[in-house]
């Protein structure tokens, strides 16, 4: 990195700063960060404190809240798992094989980041509803996707699709193809090459992608509420329950659910940070 040479040793208490603007930019950054992010989030935690521990506990352990949390976390985990397997497959195909429209498909993988969630929601519902293009094919098999918990998983698979592909792709590109070719000439089968050579290198990136997709899925709202059917205890996700409580002016209950989700999401974020640090130490910069 170019900055390393000019980096001032840390113990120097008053480093000589040549470039102007340190106080201004850092001050503005901290002010803006505090006003927009930190204070409002802090206020949320204080609001829960008003509730008192027994009532907080009563809210978050009520059957409807527990059911919604179970659905949000369960569906997010399942969708992230689907995306981990399929994402590895897509990343492999995109980096290793040449086929028509490969570059176009590569660019389209990012579509779920760019497409607004409400648009994704109504599109997936139209597609997977009993009379839809795909739902119509599944109906004779007795599989109903839209308006069931399975619909939640389908929406979260769409939302989480790019994460694993984009974390695994650079690792596969950097993987030394000559080692694989050497293994092949020594008689290793394709399956052996994948299991013994590719997977051990790729799995930290795979895990990071899983965690990112999982974290995104937990909080997802727009794409899910159209396809889920939103039946309490069955297909009602936690973010929707927060909205419902807000509409009934139960601010304290809404905040209690939000705090539980926030705490879990922060731990997932910390985990992702640790994972990325770890995989970068393993693979060198640009690893994940």
């Amino acid at each position: 990195m170019a900055a390393t040479a000019s980096r001032i040793p840390f113990p120097a208490r008053r480093p000589r700063r040549v470039l102007p603007g340190f106080g201004l930019t850092l001050g503005y950054t901290l002010l803006y960060l505090s006003l927009i992010v930190l204070l409002p989030l802090g206020a949320t935690f204080l609001k829960t404190a008003e509730l008192g521990w027994p009532q907080f506990w009563r809210v978050v352990t009520s059957p409807r809240v527990l059911a919604s949390l179970r659905l949000s976390f369960g569906a997010a985990a399942l969708a992230a798992l689907v995306n981990t397997v399929a994402g590895l497959l897509v990343a492999w195909v995109l980096t290793r094989y040449e086929f028509p429209f490969r570059r176009l498909i590569d660019a389209l993988v990012d579509l779920p980041f760019a497409l607004p969630t409400a648009v994704a929601g109504i599109a997936l519902t139209a597609l997977y509803a009993p009379g839809g293009w795909i739902g119509g094919l599944l109906a004779p098999l007795g599989v109903q996707v839209a308006y069931t918990p399975l619909g939640v998983v389908v929406a979260l698979v769409f939302i989480g699709l790019p994460f694993v592909v984009r974390t695994v792709q650079p690792v596969l590109e950097d993987l030394d193809r000559e080692v694989e070719q050497a293994a092949a000439t020594l008689g290793a089968s394709s399956a052996q090459i994948v299991i013994r050579l590719v997977l051990p290198t790729v799995w930290p990136a795979l895990l990071t992608g899983f965690a990112l997709a999982f974290a995104r899925g937990i909080g997802e709202y727009g794409s899910v509420i159209f396809i889920a059917g939103n039946m309490p205890m069955v297909s009602e996700i936690a973010p929707l329950l927060i909205v419902t409580k807000l509409e009934q002016y139960e601010y304290a209950s809404a905040t209690a659910i939000a705090v539980v989700m926030l705490l879990i999401s922060f731990f997932v974020l910390l985990g992702i940070n640790a994972l990325q640090g770890w995989s970068q130490r393993r693979l060198g910069p640009g690893g994940a």
């Binding site: 990195m1 170019a2 000019s6 001032i8 040549v18 470039l19 102007p20 603007g21 340190f22 930019t25 950054t29 901290l30 927009i36 992010v37 989030l41 206020a43 609001k47 399929a86 497959l89 195909v93 094989y97 498909i105 993988v109 990012d110 579509l111 980041f113 760019a114 497409l115 607004p116 969630t117 409400a118 648009v119 109504i122 599109a123 769409f158 699709l161 650079p170 008689g187 290793a188 089968s189 394709s190 990071t208 974290a215 937990i218 909080g219 997802e220 709202y221 159209f226 973010p239 929707l240 807000l246 601010y251 939000a258 926030l262 999401s265 974020l269 992702i272 990325q276 910069p285 994940a288």
Partner: protein, 298 residues
């Protein structure tokens, strides 16, 4: 599949490699097919069906849905919100990247993690936190009501929620870019007598212009498409506080699916334009290689 042991002592006969060829070719086709089926089911078809449904009843119906006064008001509000939220986060992104990339200070990695924090928050919660602050029963609610200032269920609330969800997007593009560029060029300009502002405008800005555009592009796409956070703070007042995604929801819930998809097709086109512009920028500046969002900075 031919079974060949890979122990060190069992080098296969030269002929053993040959029969695997067709199997490899078959595996290759199977893998490509499987990947394409997954992508078509979960990626391509959801995108295509937006336009299919929007045009299902012909161009005239499509056009009527777009020029409906409520739709026009929603489009105007969405543009207004993006026009305020994106510049705010752009200024913040440049300031944060300058502070983080050009100097060493204690707690820098904590600051970078905090900048990413909004990505870990559910959109609904992003809206909720402002309701708790500025809503009728919120901390500043009574004061705002006494001074006749409307934040919740009004445009300022929508802007705030949008700023929150798009908060990290410019900063997270610029920080790694400016870190990799170091500060040698700026220091040279200063030693040659340029002022700090001249250095920033003539040296730094040209160096980061592609990263800046890239961040603005992503920030804008997210700002125009945000649904959950805006839905909580907007109040859904037609013609006044309905953004395009909220207008889509209302039309859809009224069983006016064709009109909903017509408005949705505009946002789908915006997504497509964003991806194309992004690909073009990546060709100009390969260091901007796409990264997954959301996620911690490298």
């Amino acid at each position: 599949m031919s079974i060949v042991r890979d122990g060190p002592g069992s080098a296969p006969a030269p002929g053993a490699v040959r029969p695997r060829r067709p199997v490899r070719g078959l595996a290759r086709s199977l893998l490509i097919t499987a990947a394409l089926i997954y992508l078509v089911l979960f990626l391509i078809l959801p995108f295509v069906i937006v336009f299919g449904q929007a045009l299902a009843h012909g161009l005239a119906t499509y056009w009527a849905a777009l020029v409906d006064p409520m739709a026009v008001a929603a489009i105007r509000l969405t543009l207004t919100v993006a026009l305020v939220a994106v510049p705010l986060n752009l200024v913040f992104g440049v300031a944060a990247a300058w502070a983080v990339a050009k100097y060493e200070f204690r707690g820098k990695s904590a600051l970078v993690t905090l900048i990413d924090l909004p990505f870990a928050v559910s959109p609904v919660i992003s809206g909720l936190i402002y309701v708790l602050l500025f809503g009728a029963h919120g901390w500043f609610g009574p004061w705002l009501a006494a001074h006749d200032i409307k934040v919740m269920f009004a445009v300022p609330g929508i802007v705030l929620a949008t700023v929150f969800v798009t908060f990290p997007l410019v900063a997270r593009e610029l920080i790694p870019l400016m870190q990799s560029q170091g500060r040698d060029e700026e220091e040279t300009a200063l030693s040659l007598g340029a002022t700090g502002w001249q250095t920033f405008v003539r040296v730094t800005l040209p160096n980061i212009r592609f990263g800046l555009l890239y961040g603005v592009l992503l920030c804008n796409a997210r700002a125009m498409g945000e649904f959950g956070a805006v839905s909580v703070v907007s109040g859904h007042i037609r013609g006044l506080t309905n953004t395009m995604p909220l207008h889509i929801e209302i039309l859809y819930n009224e069983y006016n699916a064709t009109a909903a998809f017509a408005v949705a097709s505009l946002l789908a086109l915006l997504a497509l334009v964003t991806l194309v512009a992004r690909a073009a920028l990546e060709r100009q500046a390969p260091e901007l290689r796409r990264k997954p969002l959301p996620g911690p900075l490298p």
